[in-house]
Every structure is written in structure tokens, then in C-alpha cells.
Amino acid sequence: MTLLAEPRAPAGGRGSRRAPRLAPWVFIGPAAALFAVFFAYPLGASLVESLQTDERGESVWAGLDNYRRLLDDPLIPKALGNTAVILLVQVPLMLVLALLLAQVLNQSWLRLRTGYRIAYFLPAVTTLVAYAIVFRVLLRADNGVLNQLLGWIGLAPVDWLHDPLWAKVALIASITWKWTGYNMVILLAGLQAIPREQYEAAAVDGAGPATTYLKVVVPQLRPVILFCLITSTIGTLQLFDEPFLLTGGGPDNATLTPIVYLYKIGFEQLDFGYASAIAWAVVALIGALSLAQFRLLGRRR
């Protein structure tokens, strides 16, 4: 604002002084209006909704009742526990895989690099429903492709989607399949931003490959890894599509996530007040976790 308004004011009269002040508002106006309608309003409305409950079709004020219910609901710890397992197993697994792949695909000696990069990235652009259906076919208990493969190497078939433990494994595998390539591309971009000179300088100083990797590559990549970690954490806490389409949150709530639970409460049990409270609790949790990760990994120089 100061940049626009301060210089060369004297020539015009009062009218011309006003014009530059209006301009920024004209430019941000459309975006602000869209933000208000599609973001601020739903956000505010859901906050209000979370403080209300439904009595015979009328929304009545419920204060913090919905939030209190969160604390007593045994399915909330269940859903959070499932999320924690995915967070602790799937996210590190995926990021390590993505880092390894990015490292390999960043080597200049590798032929057909672009082809590999596209191949690994492709799952990220696959339509969710299509990929879930394909996974369901692959994982079918009676004649699924995976069980047929297991049969050929002499192993017993696994009831992938109906056994509480294996359903989690199947869920983790499918998320990893879909999102590893996406994180790989981001890490690859980070790797390519590291100047060649630094590798050369490290080599001149007598650093081997391991030292170069730990002392040059990883520190430079830290903000990118942090970005991947935070977006993956947010993605995990918001996990819905995969469990909803693969297992519906079952069996025995083994793949229930907070958002699948939110959906069931809101759209199957029609309790939108409690569903909104779950949504805000998830927002708070994401905020806290992101902040913690940022504090732990972000500020170090």
C-alpha cells in the first residue's frame, strides 16, 4: 500500500489521490468475495453448528455438549489410534521410499529418467474411485489377484479387507502406492535445487558419498522434507477416501479414521452438530501436530 500511495502524489488533486487506494481492493475483491462465500462462511457455519444440536428438526443451542461427547465416545480414541498407526508406519515408510526413489531418479547416469518419474508419479493423478475399485479387485479374498499370487508361491490366502489386521495393512499399502510418487517429485525438486558446486566442494574436502549425503544433501533438503512430512501428516489426519472406499471403516472399526467417523455421524446418522465438533477437533489436532513438527524440525539452522 505504501509503495503505491507514497510516490509522486503532488501533481493531481484529491481525486487522483483516492484512485490508487481503491485499486488494491479491486484486485483482491473477487478473491476475497470467493473466500468469504466458499471458505469463511462454511467455516463459521460449521463452528456454529458444532455448538448446536438437533431436536425434532430444530437446531437448538447445546453449548459444549458436542465437544464433551467427544471425550466419552469410545470410537474417537479408536479412530485416533488407527490414525496414529498409519502416521507412525505409513508416513515414515512412504517418505523413506520417496527419498530413495528421488535419489535414484536424480542420478545423471540413469537412462529413461523422465519415464520412471512419470511412472512413479502416475498413481497420484489416478482417479480415486478407479484406484479403489482396482484395489478391491486385487485384494478380493476368494479370487483376488494378490491371493492368486500368494497361492502360486505356496502361501495361504489372506482375507485382506475383512481381517482387522490385514485391512490396516491393505490400507497402508494402498495409500503408499498412491502418494509415494507425489512426495518423490517434491523431494526430487529439492534435490535438484542443490547446486553442483556444493557436491564438488565436498569432494574436494575429501567427503565420501555417505558424508556428502548426510552433511550436504539432508541439511539442504530439510525444509522440503518438512513440507512433505507436514502435508502427509495433514493428509493422514484427513484420511477418508481410501478407508471409505476400501473397507468403509470396518471390519470392527479397524480402519475407522476421524473423517470416516465424521461422515457416518453426519450423513448416515444425520447428527450434523456432533459431526461439526469432530471436524473442529481434527482441525485443532492438525494445527497442534503441524506446529510441533515445525518446532522440532523447522527452526534449526
Binding site: R21, A36, G57, P164, T247
Partner: protein
């Protein structure tokens, strides 16, 4: 710079104003009054209807006939798919927009909608008063709110029976007529599986409630007592759960979720039977005509010897959302399709939908041998069974009870948990969240 905060304030005010405008039209309300019987020459415009599968096919067919009678009215039937229908309707009722003029609602869901959205549907009580004596009374009650206001015109009954593959049973040397209880059926199913490789039935026991509500209803029990107390942990529920667990332990359940999977398992001969509503006959004849002559029907096996051998599974009604744009024409079409013996009979013949409109049952078709079912008079059987369906109470917390039961079923059947403990825990939890007493 003074203008800045002012503009910001103006923007905020605009956003707030917009918010209040938007909130103003939220909620489930609409402005359509009670349904009226208007003269035919006043009807015009388009009536949009949501339905699914064979029900959508039936309405599509009748829409053409209706248009011939009322050239000013066009009926558009949208097949929203069974798996999505409930959610689409919930969203529309909650947001107060987006619903068509006429919606198909499964009868056991009606009380949930009426409880959560008492103003969500057009009141049909007066307009439909003349049809009350001719409708299946249990359907009429299930489609009315606690004050007796009718919100959906009953369509078809979901009288349950056991559809089975006569060829597979014969191949295994099983005499269907000798099966009287679920114990007998488990023994028979094991023989069929050993002889043919086909499992007994397809059911979703990892994400659904499977056969539990039907088995409970056979014993006269629902998730709630008639006075609305939570009865998830009744002895009937325990017995039902026990049967499902034994079916699964014997390897007789083809466990897969969704409508398409159910149809495919039957079409591919992966299962030898299905315990379900009479409307299944319509799915069999339309989806798998190549299996004609290979199916038979018998009453459901009883839970205990001499017990009731039927229950209700599915069956629907047509309701007019309060937000409908053309409620008069929608009502005219609903009564044309459902409160008319000839049209109801035609839906029985063509789509296998068993009428809740009783005068239709007088049609000779219901006593005729059915070629698809090897010449068996299956609809005579269902007509007799319909009168024996025990009434159960659904309440507006039926969806929450169903959700609780889903976890119990998968926990007990697939995860080996103790049925009594799980049922008691689920009942306690449901009582807490719904504020209802436990029975």
C-alpha cells in the same frame, strides 16, 4: 490511512450480510403445504423422481403411461443408485435444497428422517386418507410420524423368504422341504458347499449388519422396544448374532459389501441361497434371466423350532420433499403409480415389486405358478407370510443403532469377540448418545 479500515469493515459487513442471507435459507424447511388432490387439467410441468434399480425401472415405465394421460406433465426418473440414495437425501434435507419432487425412501429409514427432519416432507395425511383401508397397515404406520401424519405413500413390501438354487440343493442331495430351522440350514449349507463349492449366501459382515436385524425380527425383536428403549443386547439379538457367527465359522458366508457384489455373487453361482425380501425376485428375473428354472423359494428357517418364518427386509414408499417445486403433480404421479391395482400389479409382473396396496393382491397373477421359479407359486407364499411379519419399532435413532450393530457384528463374527459383552457395551453406548433408557 483512514480508508483502509473502513473498506475492510465494509467487506466484513458484506461477508456477514451474505452469511446471514445464506443461513436464512438453511435448515430442512420448505414452503410446500400439505398435499392436495387437484384437478387433472391443472397439472403441468416436470416431476423429477429419485429411485434405484428395479424400482427406478418400474417408475420409468409408468412415467410413460402417466404422460399419455397427462400430456402437460413430464416425469423424469433419476436412478441415484441404492448405495448413495440415503446420503443424497440426507444432504438435501439438511441443506434445504437440491431435492427432486418425489423421492423413494426405504421404509425402515423413514422414522430416522421424520425424527431429524419433521418438516422435511409434504404432509400426505388428508390427500391420502381414502387409501388408508387399502394399504398394508404395518407399512402405513412405518411411513407416518409419531403424531400419525403420513409422509410417504407405501409402495412395496419387503416380506422375507429364502431364495435358493434348486439345482445346487439337488446336486448336494439336500431336501429343502426338510429345512425348518437355521440349524437345519447350516447343516444343509455345509452339504451344498462340500458338494458344489458354492457358499450358502452373500452378506456383508465386515461393514454391515448382515442378517442380524432379520433374525431379530423373526423373534419379534428390534433394536428398540415398542416404547423406544434401547434393546440392542436382548436375548433375540444374542441368538441372531450366534447364528451369523456359526454361518461364518462354517465358511458359508460370501462376505462382500455393496449391491453389485451381492448381485454378482448370485449370478456367478458363488452362493446357493439368499435370505431376503420378496423384491429380490425382480432382481433375479431382470439381472439373471439365464438362471431361470433354477431358483425356488421357501419360508425363512425359524430361529427356534416352530418359530416365525418370515421378517421384513426393505420395501419402500414415495415421499414428496417439502422443497419440491411441483408437489401437486408429484402427488398425482405417486398415487397413479402406487394406489392403483393395475399399476401395482404391473410392477409385480415386470419388476417383482410386491404391492403394499392390498387390492392388487386379488389379481390372479399372485396365485399363478412362476415359470422362473420352476413353476412354484411363490407369490402365494409371500402373500401368506406378509400377514405374519412381526412388527418392530425403528425410532429416529435407527441409523445410530445400525451403526453400533455393524461394529458388533464384525467384532464378533470376524474378530472373535464375546457376543454378550459386545452387545452390552454397544447398548450402553447407544443409550448414552441418544439419551434413551436401556430395556
Amino acid at each position: 490511512m483512514p480508508p483502509r479500515p473502513r473498506t475492510a469493515a465494509a467487506l466484513t459487513a458484506a461477508a456477514l450480510a451474505l452469511t446471514s442471507v445464506l443461513t436464512g435459507c438453511g435448515g430442512s424447511g420448505g414452503d410446500a403445504g400439505p398435499a392436495q388432490n387437484v384437478d387433472a387439467d391443472q397439472l403441468k410441468g416436470t416431476v423429477t423422481v429419485w429411485s434405484w434399480d428395479v424400482a427406478a425401472t418400474a417408475l420409468q415405465r409408468l412415467a410413460t403411461d402417466f404422460h399419455a394421460l397427462h400430456p402437460e406433465v413430464t416425469v423424469e426418473v433419476v436412478d441415484v443408485g441404492y448405495d448413495n440414495a440415503e446420503q443424497k437425501l440426507s444432504v438435501g434435507l439438511k441443506s434445504g435444497s437440491g431435492l427432486p419432487d418425489l423421492v423413494t425412501v426405504e421404509t425402515q429409514q423413514m422414522q430416522s428422517y421424520l425424527g431429524k427432519f419433521p418438516k422435511g416432507f409434504v404432509d400426505l395425511t388428508e390427500a391420502a386418507a381414502g387409501y388408508k383401508p387399502d394399504m398394508d397397515p404395518s407399512k402405513w404406520a412405518a411411513s407416518s410420524d409419531p403424531d400419525g401424519r403420513l409422509a410417504a405413500l407405501p409402495w412395496d413390501s419387503g416380506t422375507a423368504g429364502l431364495f435358493y438354487r434348486t439345482d445346487l440343493f439337488t446336486q448336494a442331495g439336500v431336501d429343502a422341504a426338510a429345512i425348518e430351522t437355521w440349524d437345519d440350514l447350516i447343516a444343509a449349507g455345509t452339504k451344498v458347499k462340500d458338494a458344489t463349492g458354492a457358499k450358502l449366501l452373500a452378506s456383508d459382515v465386515s461393514g454391515g449388519v448382515g442378517l442380524v436385524p432379520m433374525l431379530m425380527q423373526q423373534q419379534g425383536a428390534g433394536y428398540f422396544t415398542p416404547d423406544g428403549k434401547v434393546a440392542l443386547d436382548s436375548p433375540a439379538a444374542l441368538a441372531a448374532l450366534e447364528i451369523v457367527r456359526r454361518l461364518n465359522d462354517a465358511g458359508l458366508i460370501h462376505n462382500e459389501a455393496g449391491w453389485d457384489a451381492l448381485v454378482r455373487a448370485n449370478k456367478d453361482g458363488k452362493v446357493a441361497a439368499e435370505a431376503t425380501g420378496v423384491w429380490w425376485s425382480g432382481t433375479l428375473t431382470t439381472e439373471m434371466p439365464e438362471l431361470g428354472g433354477k431358483f425356488g423359494v421357501m419360508p425363512l428357517p425359524a430361529v427356534t423350532p416352530g418359530g416365525i418364518r418370515t421378517a421384513s427386509n426393505g420395501g419402500s414408499g414415495l415421499a414428496i420433499p417439502a422443497q419440491a417445486e411441483n408437489p401437486d403433480a408429484a402427488w398425482a404421479f405417486a398415487k397413479f403409480a402406487l394406489a392403483d391395482a393395475a399399476n401395482q400389479t404391473s410392477m409385480m409382473k415386470n419388476e417383482g415389486l410386491f404391492p403394499a396396496y392390498l387390492p392388487a393382491l386379488a389379481d390372479p397373477y399372485f396365485a399363478q405358478p412362476q415359470e422362473y421359479f420352476g413353476g412354484q407359486e411363490i407369490y402365494r407364499l409371500f402373500t401368506e407370510q406378509t400377514a405374519q411379519i412381526p412388527a418392530v419399532t425403528y425410532t429416529d435413532d435407527n441409523a445410530a443403532a445400525t451403526e453400533a450393530m455393524k461394529a458388533v457384528v464384525s467384532g464378533v463374527v470376524l474378530n472373535g469377540k464375546d457376543p454378550a459383552t459386545e452387545l452390552a457395551a454397544a447398548a450402553g453406548q447407544l443409550a448414552d448418545t441418544t439419551g434413551r433408557e436401556r430395556a
